[in-house]
Symmetry: C2
Subunit: 186 residues, 2 copies
DNA sequence: GTCTATAAGCAGATAGAC
DNA sequence: GTCTATCTGCTTATAGAC
């Protein structure tokens, strides 16, 4: 048996970068082979169901990172402002200060019958709910808190689109800085 | 000479819908043929440079509609609040209350060497500048007005992403309703 | 302006050796 | 676990008749 060129984790990191930059349809197996140095058959050994499975696995990994690393402070005790600041730091790192697109955006185009869209929906709803929980904890009524959470997520998604299209990452920084106001103001 | 099945305008409308839903890579010529009822050779007669030219033309048309119809009130005299309300009505119609994605998002993925990204950048900057002009007119300093314009556009783009991913168009409606506050508040 | 017919190349995918 | 070799179907693209 040949030696693995990459750990699963390393490989998923490379796939994540590709899907973020090129979307699902734009990320061809040939491109993946170029980047990873693996041939198609090797990729199919790791992901027997092909590109669909790669995208699903990449989404699942991003979910895990979001829940366990980035949004985790929201489920812990402590000062809301401080915990939100930790979340912002995590988001800034995850999106490389706005220079990386979000998989929830890039993987939800051109999806007729795959599970990616359903998966992305669940991920986004978890994100919104996490933000909403903090907002509610800060004293806002439940329905308003949910709106605040949704609008905060939308602010980040929009800033990422603007950053990609206009090449201006300052909007992303401002979106992060606006989160306390968006989620905690009465 | 055979009779044209569609006017240029009708054809571009169909192409626009496709590029909005599936992005550039996801919109294959076969899909276009299915939707339009034309065969590939007919499409190449209209767009000799192929899909790239279709995307460019679709972007240019969207630009024109935005400038001439949607953002036009911003360049005319009158009460800022009323003019902005007209713009919101135009945006609501253009994005079908949040059920259509934005070409600036869907056509800027997976673009290595085409002109679409450059074109999209110009379009987005014009949009931001138009919003900023209103904000400045309302009395805000130039740099702040530009930020407000950028954040307002980001709010709309983000709401469109949330609408697509979460299937919740209420966020888009709220984004439109928030525009006066975003652009005009002192 | 539309069509039929055709072509080269790349897409995703698989079998089997090492 | 990686590789070579192969395959089918779909991709973009073109030539030429009507």
């Amino acid at each position: 048996m040949a030696v693995a060129k990459y750990s699963e984790e390393e490989l998923l990191g490379q796939l994540t970068q590709l899907f973020r930059e090129y979307g699902f349809e734009g990320t061809s197996l040939s491109k993946i082979c170029d980047v990873t140095g693996l041939v198609k058959a090797s990729l199919y050994h790791r992901f027997p169901k092909g590109k669909d499975e790669m995208a699903d696995t990449v989404l699942a990994r991003a979910d895990r990172i979001f829940a366990e690393q980035i949004l985790r402070p929201l489920r812990e005790p402590g000062d809301p402002k401080r915990r939100l600041a930790e979340v912002c730091a995590g988001l800034d790192k995850f999106y490389a200060s706005g220079s990386c697109s979000c998989l929830l955006d890039t993987l939800t185009l051109s999806v007729d019958a795959r599970g990616a869209r359903k998966h992305a929906r669940k991920s986004l709803q978890y994100w919104v709910a996490s933000f909403a929980a903090l907002s509610k904890e800060a004293g806002l009524p439940a329905e308003l808190a949910r709106q605040r959470g949704e609008d905060a997520v939308a602010a980040i998604q929009g800033a990422l689109v603007v950053a990609r299209v206009a090449g201006d990452r300052k909007a992303f920084r401002r979106a992060l800085e606006s989160l306390p106001e968006r989620l905690l103001r009465k």
